[in-house]
């Protein structure tokens, strides 16, 4: 029982990781309607930027903020320069560009920073909180930051006119222009925010799994699954989905063994999606023709 409880906690810790990256996916999805397969690699690259800054002596929190800002502008620039030319192309072409971007970021990171793993500083104490053996301070801190980003994002999309405009631009660009929204900038802004959120995610993930160019490969898959499980258009859903994913994976692993744990976890998710086609907390879209 203790072991199972321990697995649940470990699952929540990994779930926090998936949730934070899932939020970046939701951000881009809500702003552009796309699932950005390169999101993980962007987050990885941001984390290397932070690592470089810390390495040359910049204090942690300064590097943290600087990385977020740099990532914001870099991601917005990627949208303006690389994605814009295929804005009107078929969705598969866009997917192909995402895959290209993923390969480029991965390969360039490996070239600049080599493939050896690097430890990444955690801003949280190294001693576990309250002397427990289940969760480390960093894991708890990462979950807290993911929740903070979630609330900020929720408020942004629900309450601010800019957030509303962004959702509108994603759903119906033509109509959005007709109410005066500069759709091009909304897309860039969406990418920028996603880049910034990804950077936060990366900096919270790297201390746990170490920094290397391939660090996001698996995490991206789980974040994607978690986001869809919870509802890709709803930040709350995506975060809960991320946590569920983490717990599910660990508990399945503990109960049936590791050999097929990934398979079983994915099958379970697909069953859920069959029963709830919009994800557990996604918005049901009814449209009349």
């Amino acid at each position: 029982m203790d072991a199972l409880l321990h697995q649940v906690f470990a699952g929540l810790a990994s779930g926090g990781i998936y949730a934070s990256l899932a939020l970046a996916l939701v951000m881009i999805h809500n702003a552009t309607n796309h699932i950005n397969f390169a999101q993980g690699e962007m987050a990885m690259f941001s984390t290397y930027i932070a690592w470089s800054l810390i390495n040359i002596g910049v204090p942690y929190w300064a590097a943290f903020v600087a990385t977020i800002v740099i990532s914001f502008f870099a991601a917005a620039a990627i949208e303006r320069i690389l994605i814009r030319p295929v804005e009107k192309a078929p969705v598969l072409t866009v997917v192909s560009v995402f895959i290209g971007l993923l390969l480029i970021l991965n390969s360039v990171a490996g070239w600049i920073y080599t493939y050896t793993i690097k430890s990444f500083t955690s801003p949280f104490p190294s001693e576990p909180p309250f002397g427990n053996k289940f969760v480390s301070s960093h894991e708890l801190g990462a979950i807290a930051i993911a929740l903070f980003v979630l609330v900020a994002m929720y408020l942004f999309f629900r309450v601010t006119p800019l957030g509303l405009a962004m959702r509108a631009a994603a759903e119906n660009p033509a109509s959005s222009r007709l109410v005066g929204i500069r759709v091009g900038w909304m897309l860039a802004l969406g990418w920028g925010f996603a880049g910034a959120i990804g950077a936060i995610a990366g900096m919270m993930i790297a201390p746990l799994v170490y920094l290397d160019p391939n660090m996001m490969a698996g995490i991206m898959l789980y974040a994607f699954a978690g986001a869809l499980l919870g509802g890709i258009d709803n930040p709350w859903g995506a975060v809960i989905g991320g946590f569920l994913m983490g717990v599910l994976e660990n508990v399945v692993g503990a109960l049936i063994g590791t050999e097929l744990k990934l398979t079983v976890a994915l099958v379970l998710i697909i069953i859920v999606l069959l029963l709830r086609p919009n994800g557990l907390w996604g918005h049901k879209v009814v449209s009349r023709v």
Partner: protein, 403 residues
């Protein structure tokens, strides 16, 4: 020793070799060899999931470039054609066929990966192309009867695990063992070696086994599961990233078993520092080459040579990455073999020289390790030494263990 000295030393070696009788023997060539060039083929994962190993090929190319600048081997330049196989068997087959049929290389060398080499294992043997010193530790590369043209290039994973088993049986015969392994040929070879080494006690001693996939973000769940098995001895058969995670997690959850970590994942800079040196105290492993960033070797000549080489000739590579040291050592070994071939650069002679190495000592190998091969012994390195981590460096102990 700086580069200047290194160059001088190598030139002196060449001068010596020029005097050996083989240099005057009649020149004999197979495709890929000529008066001016020796063409060697190789496949490496420069892209794809195993791209972290690509640096081996780059280090080796850099080494040969250095050798060529110094005049080459017996006056011939080494032309290493190293192609990307993305770590996928179909691509590996294609690239090897290109190397053999189009580029007409003299032989293949240091092709990386078990699945990739398996895919063209039969092909190169039917074509009688030497397929030397593969960068994989599978046991099947030492099968002279069925595959006389194929030779492995490092201690086999199974043999290494067998050594751990023997050590454990001697020191803790009543151990309760937990095993974490990578769920592929690499991890499973270790598990097999461990079980072979434990013999009939394997069943009773191993109380828990957990595999992981490289696509998984973390192995925390596996470690927790293994802890709950009540094991007091823990074998980690993983790649560096997961080994570091495991060592850290084991410590953090307050589990204190005797921990064996496989050689690939024992580098101080790459694994133990990220895991936390204080969390690594007491780890056991078996070594055969020097960890370039282990303080105890800081003053040894070959390590300095290596670091110097990295700085001057392979500046893009990370000197802490043991893959580079590995490439350095392998390139060194090949140069020895080629020198020994003299002017008889036939495929047959290459194989013959590769299989008649006697008491060869190489830079970066642990003191005392000698390379011996013969027509029925295709394993180049068959000695390992146990080591325990004391928080700063690996302390070797006991004898060199043969297998």
């Amino acid at each position: 020793m700086n580069l200047h000295h290194l160059k001088r030393a190598i030139m002196a070696l060449f001068a010596l070799l020029a005097l050996t009788p083989s240099a005057h023997a009649e020149k004999k060539y197979d495709p890929g060899a000529s008066d001016t060039e020796i063409k060697i083929g190789q496949t490496m994962p420069y892209s794809g999931p195993a791209s972290s190993y690509g640096t081996i090929g780059k280090a080796e190319a850099a080494y040969f470039k250095m050798i060529n600048e110094l005049g080459g081997v017996n006056g011939r330049k080494i032309n290493l054609i190293s192609l990307d196989d993305g770590y996928t068997p179909p691509k590996a087959v294609e690239q090897v066929r290109r190397l053999v049929e189009q580029d007409q290389v003299l032989f293949l060398w240091q092709n990386l990966g078990t699945p990739t080499n398996s895919a063209f294992h039969k092909y190169v043997n039917s074509k009688k192309i030497p397929h030397l010193f593969l960068a994989t530790g599978a046991t099947k590369w030492g099968d002279p009867k069925n595959f006389p043209w194929t030779m492995g290039g490092q201690p086999t994973y199974q043999a290494e695990a067998t050594i751990y088993a023997k050590h454990l049986l001697k020191t803790k015969p009543d151990a309760k063992i937990a095993v974490l392994y990578q769920n592929d040929d690499y991890g499973k070879d270790y598990v097999k070696g461990l079980k072979d080494g434990l013999k009939d006690k394997a069943q009773s001693m191993i109380v828990a086994e957990q595999g992981y996939e490289t696509a998984e973000p973390s192995v925390d769940s596996q470690v927790i599961k293994l802890q709950s098995s009540g094991a007091d001895t823990f074998f980690i058969f993983a790649i560096p990233k997961f080994a570091a995670q495991t060592i850290r997690k084991t410590y953090d959850i307050g589990w204190k078993p005797v921990v064996y970590v496989n050689n690939v994942s024992s580098a101080v800079a790459n694994v133990l520092q990220p895991a936390g040196l204080e969390k690594s105290v007491g780890l056991l492993t078996a070594q055969y080459f020097k960890d370039s960033h282990d303080p105890q070797w800081a003053n040894s000549t070959d390590v300095k040579q290596y670091l110097d080489f990295m700085k001057k000739h392979h500046p893009d590579g990370d000197p802490k990455d043991s893959n580079n040291a590995y490439g350095f050592m392998q390139a060194n070994l090949l140069v020895h073999v080629l020198k020994a071939c003299g002017d008889n650069l036939t495929r047959e002679n290459i194989l013959k020289q590769a299989t008649s190495l006697k008491n060869l000592e190489l830079p970066m190998l642990l003191p005392g390790i000698k390379i011996n091969t013969s027509a029925d012994d295709y394993f180049i390195i068959e000695q390992l030494q146990m080591a325990r981590f004391d928080g700063k460096e690996w302390r070797l102990f006991g004898e060199l263990l043969d297998y």
